[in-house]
């Protein structure tokens, strides 16, 4: 039963992260996007917990705990603070409209499945069949960064990308070593804090956080 249940559960939770990514694309207001990111991270943390339970790995369990703490609680809080300070409630400002974005992301999922299906097939782990989903998340994260005009939503794209890479590692090899994972988390936290400060600076200087306007800085 457990051996049958485990891959199903992994696939389902991976799909949940992908679903959260899709909803994040559709969502217009920043606060909702941040919440969706938290939801995605939560699904990821649960997934890590499930894998940890299945492999009886204490290291992975602590990674799951750290992930939950950092990405479900700390980073959303930091981002919410930034949202509150900037005062932009509905400000995704994508280049493409919602239906077009959905079409593009659907296409990215298809490409991810197409590219990753052989990889998944050659990997012996029971979690392998969800690898294409993780890869789709990576592509979508990239696309969100490309498609959004505002700096804050680009950070969200970056965080989603990072989540998906974590997922990919988890599915393909049951996670990278503990110390590396912690280092990455620290990096992400620092990156988010730095970017937050940058956003304030940009906001103060330009009275807007549209990335387009940074083009004026060049000589």
């Amino acid at each position: 039963m457990v051996t049958e249940l485990f891959p199903k559960l992994v696939t389902l939770l991976s799909f949940a992260t992908l679903g959260a990514a899709f909803l994040l694309i559709v969502r217009r207001d920043l606060a909702g996007q941040v919440r969706l990111f938290a939801v995605q991270s939560l699904a990821l943390a649960i997934l890590a917990g499930v894998v940890a339970a299945f492999t009886r790995s204490v290291e992975l369990a602590s990674v799951a705990l750290a992930l939950a703490l950092l990405k479900v609680v700390v980073i959303p809080r930091v981002l919410n603070r930034a949202v509150a300070k900037i005062g932009l409630q509905r400000a995704a400002l994508p280049y493409l409209g919602t239906p077009a974005t959905l079409v593009v992301c659907g296409g990215l999922v298809v490409i991810a499945f197409y590219v990753m299906a052989p990889v998944a097939a050659s990997n012996p782990l029971p979690t392998a069949e969800a690898i294409p989903i993780a890869f789709a998340g990576v592509l979508i994260g990239f696309f969100v960064m490309v498609n959004r005009r505002r700096a804050l939503t680009q950070i969200l794209g970056f965080l989603m990308l990072e989540n998906s890479i974590f997922l990919l590692a988890l599915l393909a090899t049951y996670g990278v070593p503990f110390i590396v994972e912690m280092g990455v988390f620290l990096d992400v936290l620092v990156a988010v804090l730095i970017m937050e400060v940058f956003i304030y600076r940009i906001k103060e200087n330009f009275d807007s956080i549209e990335v387009d306007r940074l083009g004026r800085l060049k000589g």
Binding site: K8, L9, F15, V26, P99, V103, G106, F113, E129
Partner: protein
Amino acid sequence: MLTQILIEVIQLLIVGLGAPLLVGLVRRVKARLQGRRGAGLLQPYADLHKLLAQEAVVSETTSWICRFTPYLLAATMLLSALLVPLLTTQTPLGFLGNIIVLMYLFLLGTFFLTLAGLDAGSAFGGMGSSREMAVAALAEPTVMIAIFAIALRAGNTGLDEIIRRGAADSLLLLTPGHLLAFMAFFIVALAETGRLPVDNPATHLELTMIHEAMVLEYSGRYLMLIEWAAGMKLLIFLALLSNLFFPWGVALAITPFALAVAFVALAMKIGALAVGIAVLETAVAKLRLFRLPALLSGSFALALLAVISFLFVK
């Protein structure tokens, strides 16, 4: 033979008599969520009964289409009630058609209702018709792709067979494709039955209406038939959702006990979905008409993801 006739009669009665109760339930829960007492559960019966006693005022510019449509609409819904497996997977008239036939029967009803909306020559009716048809047409691809996803899983497009396969699969709810298809189908069900956020069934403002604007000309028994049919459509969609995606309790063999269990299970599943709809309708606002394509394309994306997940993640 007699049991088969009995089952079909029970199905007709469940859909025909249960529809007003379902509408009453949704309204009651909504009223409670809005901090009101609301009308009783049986209020829709009183409404329909009253409409029957009223005379019908018909626009003088209309033709036979306007008077024929309510009967056809009620008949298509009753026919759907005969096809849908409500209590058992051995629906006697299931051979009449599969799930695609069901969708085309709904489209037939919509086709004539939109014609009737144009018949009186009022601007409201035309507007309602145009919008209803737009929603119906845009919902169609999602429906078919969701059906494709289901057919992929069950290897069949017959309603009975899909349910039987589903009931045999214990890990059903953990299949991502299944859940994605459910979400897609749920959004389509909201659009097809004119619920929020697609259409507001309780609006009084002509310009925000879709379904209601189309039937502004109807009165008396004609209106009664149309409202009844709308209730039946909601019930059939909810029954489809609950039995296709949560096929628990559906009688696999015809025994009185199994049928009783199936009836209770069906009532509970539909009740839960109805409460879900009421909660959703309290929480979300109606979307602007031209934001609807985004919603429907979202549901289409979900359905396509369901197909992809069934194709790749077996």
